[in-house]
């Protein structure tokens, strides 16, 4: 069985994000970038399936600027077999990413696609779902457990009411939630070996996709600074303030 995993290069989760002075976006110059944590979980799941003998090849895909190669290398160091970089300077939005992934799925014909449920930069939570729709494949989103059966993928999903298990027949798209697994640290020898694994570079045009954004960012703002709270002397005072100042009751 062949698995395709998509990984996104995002601002590292430890970085304190700052808005650019022209408010066109967040500052990316000289900022540490790393793999979206949900995608790390996706890579780990694919590697575990391979270690369990259920998967024969893991293809890692990333999209964006040339630097995304590093993100692919990280995934290869964790256990991916080869990489594909869809290189573009375009402002990639979920639909364009899903279209590129569909074109790659058509080309690579994997049996399973695993992606993070969302990326920690824009938190869109759309790519996996859009891809499943474009492919006409069943989807298991927010997976906290993935089991491969005979022609079926059983996915336990984290939903508001608790856990739901869906059985996906045939080829499927799975998006990963936090509790699916704990990603490994790539070993130092594997990081060095990953250097020798192949990464193919293609452009959106090669895949027949126009990556032009459908949404326009007007302005990016810092969250409003939180005001200091006040202590109230009595319940009556609290109710009075909630009613007349906060106007919430």
């Amino acid at each position: 069985m062949k698995v395709l995993v998509a990984v996104k290069r995002v601002v590292d989760y430890n970085v304190k994000v700052r808005v650019k002075s022209d408010k066109s976006g967040v500052e990316l110059a000289n900022v540490k970038m790393s793999m979206n944590p949900f995608d790390e979980i996706a890579v780990e799941e694919a590697v575990r399936l391979k270690e369990a003998g259920k998967v024969s090849e893991i293809v890692v895909v990333s999209m964006g600027v040339a630097g995304c190669q590093e993100t692919i290398r990280t995934a290869l160091a964790m256990g991916g077999d080869r990489g594909v970089l869809v290189q573009t300077d375009a402002d990639l939005q979920p639909l364009a990413v899903a279209k590129c992934l569909k074109a790659l799925v058509d080309k690579e014909s994997p049996d399973l696609v695993i992606v993070g449920k969302q990326a920690i930069d824009d938190d869109s939570n759309q790519t996996g779902q859009m891809l499943a729709a474009l492919l006409g494949w069943p989807q298991g989103t927010f997976a906290s457990k993935v089991e491969l059966g005979d022609g079926v993928v059983n996915v336990t999903r984290e939903i508001d009411g608790g856990l739901e298990t869906v059985a996906l027949k045939g080829k499927a798209v799975v998006t990963t939630d936090l509790r699916l697994n704990t990603p490994r640290y790539a070993s130092l020898p594997n990081i060095m070996k990953a250097k020798k694994k192949p990464i193919e570079t293609v452009s959106p045009a090669d895949l027949g996709v126009d990556p032009a954004p459908r949404l326009k960012t007007l302005s990016v703002e810092e969250p409003a600074v939180r005001q200091a709270g006040v202590k109230v002397g009595s319940v009556a005072e609290l109710v009075e303030k909630l009613k007349n100042e906060a106007k919430v009751i």
């Binding site: 290398r73 640290y185 070993s187 020898p189 990081i191 060095m192």
Partner: protein, 387 residues
């Protein structure tokens, strides 16, 4: 092997994350239990941390010195006990075989040392002999095709965990100096080898040392590192191992100092006295600035010396300078860290007093500060005589 910048930065990123997320939360527990949890040791093995300086052909990473010091800076950011466990395999416990070993010795030992399956330990110090090689008493007496080793080794790092020892023993009973000493590679499970109880140390709990006693331990001639051709050459092997070790220790000291400076800065911003953070007081600022400048100086020394060593330049003077300066520096930085933390620095909860005790060892092992001074000054005088 020189790595491309991208691979090196990935290595460093991974080590930093491992140190910050996996090792640092365990510092207090390791000190309390005087043991590193087995699953963490396995994680360290899986990461490849035991084989940094062992050639790739034998399953290690084969890092250049300038790459190894970058990793050691990061390993210094947590309790030295973790580094100690992998330290001998990367340094004195393996480098004798890497530098002077026969092909058989290399292929027999190095892959298992690189994976961490086998821990290597370095048996030089004795009850009556430390820096003074001439007084080394452990003997290796020829007996047919074998040698019989007798003697006691003291303060041997990782001996309780070791699977193989590099043992220095006098093979020429008539010699009174370093010239009659050979280095043997000795499996720890041979009959006649016994261990003393673990030493009760001032710090670095979780890292273990003890006596190793050799009682008529029979080893073949082929156990001499480099084979019979290197009979009586043991000290030359030891000296070659030391430059790398001194640079490694120097970089660990820099790492610990940088960690303590970060902890001190965080505390300086958080702790308030007289209505403002103590970091706003100039006397605290002076301590922070002194620590920063000294740690930075040591970092530059280590990086420059490592770069020169990779170019094949003899750095024995500079490596001794690095070990001496960095170990003394981290002692001062740890002292200031306690001072900046005040009462919090003296009680165990913050871990600062633990580092203060841990770093004391750096000025003592792998050549005391005083031995480094001798090495540096003797090399200077020797060079000056050729002016």
């Amino acid at each position: 092997m020189a790595l491309d910048p991208e691979t090196l930065s990935q290595l460093l990123d991974t080590v930093r994350r491992f140190v910050d997320n996996r090792l640092r939360p365990l510092e207090a527990k390791v000190a309390e239990d005087d043991a590193i949890p087995a699953e963490v040791v396995q994680d360290m093995r899986d990461m490849g941390l035991f084989g940094m300086s062992i050639p790739e052909a034998y399953g290690g990473l084969g890092l250049a010195m300038s790459e190894e010091v970058q990793i050691a800076f990061l390993l210094g950011r947590t309790s030295p006990a973790f580094r100690s466990l992998m330290g001998t395999n990367n340094g004195i416990g393996s480098q004798g075989i890497v530098i002077d070993g026969t092909d058989e010795q290399k292929s027999h030992y190095l892959p298992r040392l690189a994976s961490g399956e086998l821990i290597g330990s370095f048996c030089l110090t004795e009850p009556g002999s430390g820096s003074d090689a001439g007084s080394l008493r452990t003997s290796a007496r020829r007996n047919g095709d074998d040698f019989l080793i007798n003697g006691t080794k003291r303060y041997i790092t990782n001996a309780p965990e070791a699977g193989v020892f590099t043992v220095f023993a006098r093979t020429n009973p008539d010699s009174r100096d370093a010239s009659g000493v050979s280095a043997f590679v000795v499996d720890a499970n041979l009959p006649g080898i016994s261990l003393g109880p673990n030493d009760h140390k001032m710090g670095q709990k979780g890292a273990h040392t003890c006596d190793v006693i050799f009682d008529n331990v029979r080893v073949p001639v082929s156990a001499i590192i480099g084979g019979e051709a290197r009979l009586h050459q043991g000290f030359k092997t030891a000296m070659k191992v030391l430059d790398r070790g001194r640079l490694h220790i120097g970089s660990v000291c820099v790492g610990v100092a940088e960690r303590l400076i970060e902890d001190s800065l965080r505390y300086s911003l958080e702790r308030e006295q007289f209505g403002k953070p103590i970091g706003e007081f100039q006397l605290i600022q002076a301590m922070l600035a002194d620590s920063k400048a000294e740690a930075y100086a040591a970092r530059c020394m280590v990086e420059e010396t490592a770069r020169r060593k990779d170019q094949g330049i003899d750095v024995s003077t500079e490596a001794a300078c690095c070990k001496m300066y960095a170990s003394e520096m981290v002692g001062r930085v740890a002292d200031r860290a306690v001072q900046i933390h005040g009462g919090a620095g003296y009680i165990a909860d913050y871990g600062i007093e633990r580092f203060y005790r841990d770093v004391r060892l750096f000025r003592i092992y792998e050549g005391t500060t005083q031995i480094q001074q001798l090495v540096i000054a003797r090399n200077m005088l020797k060079d000056a005589r050729t002016w």
